[in-house]
């Protein structure tokens, strides 16, 4: 039967933190994300025979988790789709950063991206996968990943510019106020 060696189990465990971060970005909810991770691990263990030793365990688990999420998501039919800012909401448990206005704006903006763009951006920009690995995880062409990432970055820059000009910070507003008062 399944042949989960201690080495493979350790590889799984060390992939868990990043897998969770990815799951949260997909589901927009910490509890659901952890359930997804658990399901993905269960499925991975049951199918450990199909894992090619020496290949990237993390990428394999990400693929499984993403597929699980998508099949579940299709069933639930966009239940959370209109919950604007759901990702930002889910991260409220991290007060040290939620208090930071820049972070809040960033998360809200990230939430507004189409799911496929957000996913590609996270795999490349945060999880640290190569374009090839991300393409394998998302089961699409490398060029598709590249264009999704580019569109995601452009859109994010646009969204963030609306709120706080080119420097993301409150400086723009402050400057505007200062210049409006006209003395200085």
């Amino acid at each position: 039967m399944s042949n989960l060696t201690p080495a493979l189990r350790d590889q799984m465990l060390s992939a868990v933190p990043s897998l969770r971060a990815f799951a949260i970005s997909l589901s927009g909810n910490v509890d659901r994300a952890d359930d997804l991770v658990q399901e993905a691990l269960t499925r991975a263990i049951a199918n450990i025979d199909s894992f090619q030793p020496g290949t990237n365990m993390s990428a394999w688990l990400f693929t499984i988790l993403r597929n699980l999420f998508r099949s579940e998501y299709r069933k639930r039919r966009r239940e959370v789709e209109d919950a604007d800012g759901s990702y930002a909401e889910s991260l409220k448990s991290h007060p040290e950063q939620s208090s930071n206005l820049e972070f809040k704006e960033f998360r809200v903006a990230l939430d507004k991206l189409p799911a496929e763009q957000r996913e590609a951006l996270i795999l490349i920009g945060a999880s640290g996968f190569s374009y090839e690995e991300a393409a394998a995880i998302c089961e699409c062409a490398v060029g598709t990943i590249k264009s999704r990432v580019n569109r995601a970055r452009t859109r994010l820059a646009d969204l963030l510019a609306i709120e706080s000009a080119e420097d993301f910070g409150p400086d723009h507003q402050t400057r505007a106020i200062l210049s409006a008062t006209g003395r200085r």
Partner: protein
């Protein structure tokens, strides 16, 4: 006022500073979760698996 036109940025082209800022925010957000490590529930889960295996399933 001349200042206005010189301030507008070309569209569809991201400045390097904007790009790197996006990258930073993205990683900081992600790493915030990563830094929580492996929750007990998953360590437990994989440990229990070992025990089940040792006992043999369905005797």
């Amino acid at each position: 006022m001349q200042a206005e036109s010189s301030q507008t940025k070309p569209r569809g082209r991201l400045g390097r500073d904007v790009q790197s800022k996006i990258g930073q925010q993205l990683r900081a957000m992600y790493d915030d979760v990563v830094s929580e490590g492996v929750p007990d529930r998953f360590t437990e889960m994989l440990r229990q698996l070992d025990e089940t295996k040792d006992k043999g399933v369905g005797s």
